[in-house]
């Protein structure tokens, strides 16, 4: 009996210490249920010590009955801890907890109202060592035992998830918590099976000393309560529900098992109605998407409310790489589609309408003969056509932003540009040193270098006009310097381009430099403008090198 009392005292000391440490961690998830669990265990152990030390049989019986308060609180507190700690706090609403407490409350009421015969067979024997042995095992005893084991298993199911966590701290916490539960559990099973002689005293609370040590270890070594996984489940749900993309989760049979708010809104139904329904009924054109045909857009809604989506189906696999379902995602591209339509219209206007109108102007201007007025009208019409051409280049650039960056050898781009400029400006000396053939850049740079070299040649003045095109490749990037000895670019022009925006009072004179900037940005690079001495400008375009296109 002395050893039994000593072990129970150790269990009380460890349990109290661990409860205090857990109490200090409030209000972190799981802290309060853990305190309740440990307090219940301490009370259970305390009642056994008082029972062993009581002088009379009625007093011993009284402590036996009072001990039930601790016995029945342990499984409820354990399950509450496991649920709260693993972020399943939605199951801990007051009405659910009240439901969980029904069996413990009934047990306590039974004890208080004198229904002891349901818990304890009212007989006792005195063993050789003087310990009074009470026979337990009435019908309600079986109910309490079954209920305790059921709640214990439910808690284990929640905690087991931690053992498989990627985080070492959570794995450690999971293992120590399971050890903490296994010790009293195994002890109780052994006691119920009569494996060892304890003079009728249930040694389960003694094993809680092991639990206390495990919990202390989890608190101090694996930062139990301090670093807890509770927010993970809610955070994932929050991201799932809050993301600006629709997502519908399907099981292996193609039935909807989850859908986020965005998808529910896009599909125009309620979550309650969508869950459990076959995807073919809920998602238009689901068969096409499922078969991997994701070309073209999916349109949901009617009339003015119609929205256009890019849709995709992604398979979901378990750890054994087995197919367990799929996610259908919808990305709203309505705005982009409308923008593209507008650009297409703009492109047509710039390409055809302006050219047609300027041709008409040219035709009528010829009627003026060789007069100055006729020449000026033709020149101005040509400039309008040039503006239209630049606009078309700009529109094509914007269209490229939605496409993959197609790579093109830099030498090819520069060769074309230099050849065109040499033909159109034969009086300008264009010196050009071609880059190595393996230097590949975005094809969007064609318009950039076209404008840069053309501008450098056209705006050059004087008897000797020079334009140099120099390339400086390195492993990651390539810089192309286009330099001239012309009058230079007005500072206001370059300032506007650098700032990236115009206003009514502060603006550039055309589209050429804007095309340089936009095209360079689309190619993932940067453009720098520097003055040269005594005159001229050097524009340095630095862009990343791309992999050579396949087949080259």
């Amino acid at each position: 009996m002395l050893l039994l009392t000593a072990l129970l005292l150790v269990s009380i000391a460890v349990g109290t210490g661990a409860a205090i440490l857990a109490w200090r961690e409030r209000p972190k998830p799981g802290a309060f249920p853990l305190v309740a669990l440990l307090a219940a265990q301490v009370w259970w152990s305390t009642c056994i010590v008082f029972r062993l030390r009581a002088d009379t049989v009625p007093a011993k019986l009284q402590w036996l009955h009072l001990g039930w308060l601790g016995v029945v609180c342990v499984p409820v507190a354990w399950l509450c801890f496991a649920l709260e700690y693993t972020g399943r706090d939605r199951y801990l609403r007051p009405r659910y907890v009240a439901l969980l407490c029904a069996v413990p409350a009934a047990t306590v009421a039974l004890v208080a109202l004198g229904g002891h015969d349901l818990l304890v067979v009212e007989s006792h024997t005195i063993g050789a060592n003087g310990v009074v042995r009470f026979e337990q095992g009435g019908p309600w005893y079986a109910v309490v035992a079954g209920y305790t084991y059921l709640l214990g298993l439910c808690g284990v199911a929640a905690i087991v998830e931690l053992v498989g966590s990627d985080a070492v701290a959570f794995r450690g916490q999971g293992v120590t918590l399971l050890v903490g539960l296994a010790a009293p559990w195994v002890t109780n099973v052994a006691f119920l099976l009569g494996t060892f002689e304890t003079a009728g005293v249930d040694p389960t609370p003694i094993a809680f000393a092991v639990s206390g040590v495990a919990y202390l270890g989890a608190i101090t070594r694996y930062r139990l309560l301090e670093t807890n996984p509770a927010p993970r489940r809610r955070a994932r749900r929050l991201v799932f529900d809050g993301m600006r993309e629709g997502a519908v989760v399907l099981d292996t049979n193609g039935n909807v098992v989850d859908a986020n708010e965005y998808a529910v809104d896009a599909l125009g139904i309620t979550r309650e109605l969508v869950l459990g329904e076959p995807a073919t009924r809920v998602i238009p054109e689901y068969e096409r998407l499922r078969d991997g045909n994701t070309a073209g857009h999916l349109t949901l809604g009617d009339g003015d409310d119609a929205r256009t989506y890019d849709a995709a189906v992604t398979d979901v696999s378990d750890v054994h790489d087995r197919h367990i379902g799929s996610i259908v995602t919808f990305h709203d591209v309505s705005r982009y589609v409308r923008q593209r339509q507008r650009l297409e219209v703009l492109n047509r206007v710039l390409r055809h309408n302006i050219r047609t109108e300027t041709n008409v102007i040219h035709g009528y201007a010829e009627r003026f003969g060789d007069s100055d007025a006729g020449r000026i009208v033709q020149e101005r019409a040509a400039r309008i056509e040039a503006v239209g051409e630049k606009g078309r280049q700009a529109v094509e650039l914007f269209e490229r932003t939605r496409e993959e960056h197609t790579g093109r050898p830099l030498a090819g781009i520069l060769d074309d540009c230099v050849t065109r400029v040499r033909e159109s400006h034969p009086d300008v000396d264009v010196s050009y040193d071609p880059p190595p053939a393996d230097v590949v850049v975005s094809s969007a740079l064609s318009a950039v270098f076209d404008n840069l070299i053309e501008n450098a040649a056209r705006h050059n003045e004087g008897d000797e006009r020079h334009v140099t095109v120099e390339t400086r490749p390195d492993a990651e990037e390539v810089s192309v310097v286009v330099a001239d000895d012309g009058p230079g670019i007005d500072a206001q022009e370059t300032d506007v381009i650098r700032d990236g925006g115009e206003s009514a009072l502060r603006h550039g004179s055309g589209l050429g430099l804007w095309i340089v900037r936009w095209g360079t940005e689309i190619a993932g690079g940067r453009a720098e403008f520097d003055d040269r001495e005594p005159t001229g400008t050097a524009v340095t375009v630095t862009v990343p090198r791309l992999d050579a296109p396949s087949g080259e």
Binding site: L9, A18, L21, W23, P27, T46, F50
Partner: protein, 313 residues
């Protein structure tokens, strides 16, 4: 030649060794003092001595009660230090820094101490356990989130004149007297009542001394203590009066045969010492040291009681 050249450096080396040894000893001494004072560990010893005094006065058999009280004192006081470390940073920066530096150790230590105290109290029976759980119950009451009105009411007790110090004194007197009684399964006799009254009033006086140091902060926080309400001089008069009431009470108890010679003499010597300390109130600003000196009175009392007991009184 070599011995002549070596001698001064050897002498210098020896002196340096002595100095470094003294410096190391001084460093250890300072650390030990810091540990004792900042962690309130000295109170642990004094609390145990108070229980021994009560046991001697009540002629109780040896029990784990002094050890339980020592563990409880450590858990409660150091637990408070940990909880109040942030607030203490303004008034006692060195203490707050010491506690913060050893926070983890103190946290584990206090939890283990309370756990051990509860386990030992179980051996004393339900009453001993209840007394041991009393500080924990107050702790939960103050910190409780689910009983906000009760918690607010309990917290408000700290702001009420006399009640704030009286609650601390009452809890202390209950622990010091009732715990050894519970272990011995003894009755609450008239002697126990006198000893209880002595510890209650004496603790009350000792609780008001630190309030002298904190009077400005207490006034700012709306906490009504004797120094805040009555001022320093009148507080000194009240402390004189309380000590003199105790002297009269102990004399009456001796006259009535409730207290023995050794206990009466010990307590009276202690009260004389307390009156001397009360004289310093308003005449020094070192109230921290005055409070420690007041607590140390119990060492004097137990020394006199044990000495006279050994001499056959």
């Amino acid at each position: 030649m070599s011995s002549q050249t070596d001698s001064p450096s050897l002498a210098w080396g020896g002196t340096r060794t002595v100095y470094s040894t003294l410096a190391a000893l001084s460093e250890y001494g300072t650390r030990a003092k810091d540990a004792l004072v900042y962690s309130s560990a000295y109170l642990v010893v004094i609390a145990a001595v108070e229980v021994v005094t009560a046991m001697v006065a009540l002629s109780l058999p040896p029990s784990p009660a002094p050890l339980v009280i020592a563990l409880l004192t450590f858990a409660v006081y150091v637990g408070d230090r940990i909880a109040d470390a942030a607030e203490d940073a303004a008034t006692s920066p060195e203490r707050a820094a010491f506690v913060t530096r050893h926070r983890r150790l103190f946290s584990l230590g206090t939890a283990a101490a309370y756990g051990l105290a509860v386990a030992l109290a179980v051996l004393g029976g339900p009453l001993a356990l209840a007394v041991t759980l009393l500080p924990g119950a107050f702790w939960i009451l103050y910190a409780s989130d689910w009983l906000p009105s009760l918690s607010r009411y309990a917290s408000r007790l700290k702001d009420v004149l006399v009640v704030n110090s009286a609650v601390v004194a009452l809890a202390w007197a209950v622990c010091v007297v009732c715990l050894p009684l519970a272990y011995a399964d003894g009755a609450f006799t008239p002697t126990a009542a006198v000893v209880f009254g002595y510890f209650f009033l004496d603790t009350y006086v000792n609780t008001e001394i630190p309030n002298l140091r904190d009077r400005e902060g207490d006034a700012a926080n709306g906490v009504a203590t004797l120094p805040v309400v009555l001022g320093v001089r009148r507080t000194r008069h009240v402390l004189y009066a309380l000590d003199l009431v105790l002297v009269a009470g102990i004399a009456l108890a001796f006259g009535a045969g409730i207290l023995g010679v050794a206990m009466t003499a010990g307590v009276l010597v202690g009260l004389g010492y307390a009156l001397c300390l009360a004289w310093f109130v308003g005449r020094t600003e070192r109230y921290g040291r005055l409070a420690i000196a007041g607590e140390a009175k119990h060492l004097l009392v137990v020394a006199v009681v044990v000495a006279l007991g050994a001499a056959g009184f």
